[in-house]
Amino acid sequence: MDIGALGVYMCLFLGLFFEVFLLISFLENKPGKKTAFKPKNYPATTILVPCWNKAKTLGATIESLLALEYPKEKLSILIIDDGSIDDTYEAAQKFAHNPQVRILQKKNEGSKYSALNFGIANSEGELVGCLDADSFVAPDALLEVVKRFENEPDIMAVTPAMRVHHPKNLLELMQAVEYVFGIFCRKMFDNLSSLTVIPGPFSIYKREVFTKIGKFRKAHHTEDMEMAFRMHANGLRIANAHTAIVSTKVPTSLGALVRQRVRWSRGFLENARDYSYMFFNPRYGNLGFMALPLGLAAFLAGIYSAIFLVYSFLSAFITNVLDMVVTGIPPQMPGLPRFEWFYMDTSMMTFLVFTVLALTLVTIFIGKRIAQTKIPIHSLVSYFALFGFIAPVWLARAIWDTVLAKETGWLT
């Protein structure tokens, strides 16, 4: 066996181990269904809506917040116009008459964290949440989050289940499946107390988090990831409310998607480096032994597999062309594939790849059930056809930028 293939087997082993580990976690602690119980208390909650050039979607975001099934006197919404140069402020003014809504403006400082800290400083609620201005909450989302806080008082932050808002084009459909897979992973990481990010769309914190460990940091433009790392470092628990549904708009073009994912991926690398003492540190449990090392390994495995595939394809192509030139055999139309069992690829690697894909499919369907959502077949096709080709691009770019310490801005 050549070294290239050996590396692929190692990647497959890691991938399978990760999926099996999460499935064991699922079987040990299956996520419960949504209940009709109401919380005993309704803590005062402020939802921060930081926005930069979100005139088109801000209105629907605020409407969804105003439609939350929560006592109006307990829920306030703080729109923070972070130096927008479009009509965001005008769009926000449409809600100025609503007593639940406050609108503040600030100068843009190049990253989201400053807008969040500005909002935290200008709010009073016992719970402080954030909702990106291109995301929309289900009416009972806050109730579900509050129930999670109430049931387990040691929880300091709760993340929701995120879906893609009305996916239409191929990239959005691909991301729709990816997000459903993420719903499964997030819930299982909750089971393992190892959530590594508290995402922007509708994650809710107890205010005391900020008094204990401080507010958001720039953190390589991934303040939500750094906050999760810092909470773990200080023993503050993060949980997931899989019944709290929020849908979010996702990049519709390849360029925007790659820019967003480069920021996320680079954020993971840089934050993992900043908190490298957590790796394989028994004090941080599954986070140190599974989530962080496997996250990093997945990074490298994704790039390695892509390089291996591209190298194999290119070398086969070049060999064929050279052979054709040297032998003088005229080019021939490729014949139909042979369906004889004898010539089918039944190598060990093929079986393992199919097993990984099958387990991925299983986890996606579990995520679908958890989030009570639908996945059209063309969405699944987009995911399996595109993700493996696109993801290595942003992974490689993130490593490149990290190695060169290239400074980037908040791009999406």
Partner: protein
Amino acid sequence: MQWQRYILAFAITAAIFATAFYIADFIDNRRIADIREIQEAISIDLLSSETQFELLGSLDCELLGEHPVLSEELNSLAERLSYTENNLGNDNEQVLLLKKQYSLLQIKDYLLMQEISRKCGTKSVSILYFYSNEEGSCENCGRMGEVLTYLRQTYPDLRVYSFDYNLDLGALQTLVALRKIQPELPALIISNRSPVYGFKDLEETEALIPELKTLATTTPQEE
């Protein structure tokens, strides 16, 4: 932290790997069994022709016209053997054994065809092709093989017998010695003429076989 979960996940993953290995190995063995069955069938056909010859004292040219030759079976066997060799490696013991049997069948078929040509007056065009799979010993053997495969597909009546020069097989080494083939591979013996050494592209190879003009052609895609 529950270490049992890690151990269980590791054990299940290892079990999946073991299962994949077992299934792949099982199917590879089925392939080898399939090749062996074809070889046995060819062997019986060859034996039948030889026995027929002994019974009649001469070949029944008419009968051979109706059931001409084993060319297709041998070609199919060659393809399967080549595919299996690529998958399992040319140093796999089972592959080596199958190659030896295949080489013997080719030699027997070659000799039978010589006999048929002589007795029935038919003109067959044959190529004995000697190659090597050993690393660095024959850089262009693969390409020579491609040229010959193309010719065989284009001229179905062209009989190409390919032999691994280094195969440890007495009959093959006797053939090498009889034909005085030097280890300068690839080497070709076209219709019993003197050996030709070195890689030849399609045009050069066609020029070496003027008899091709007498053979019917087909397009490779139709094969």
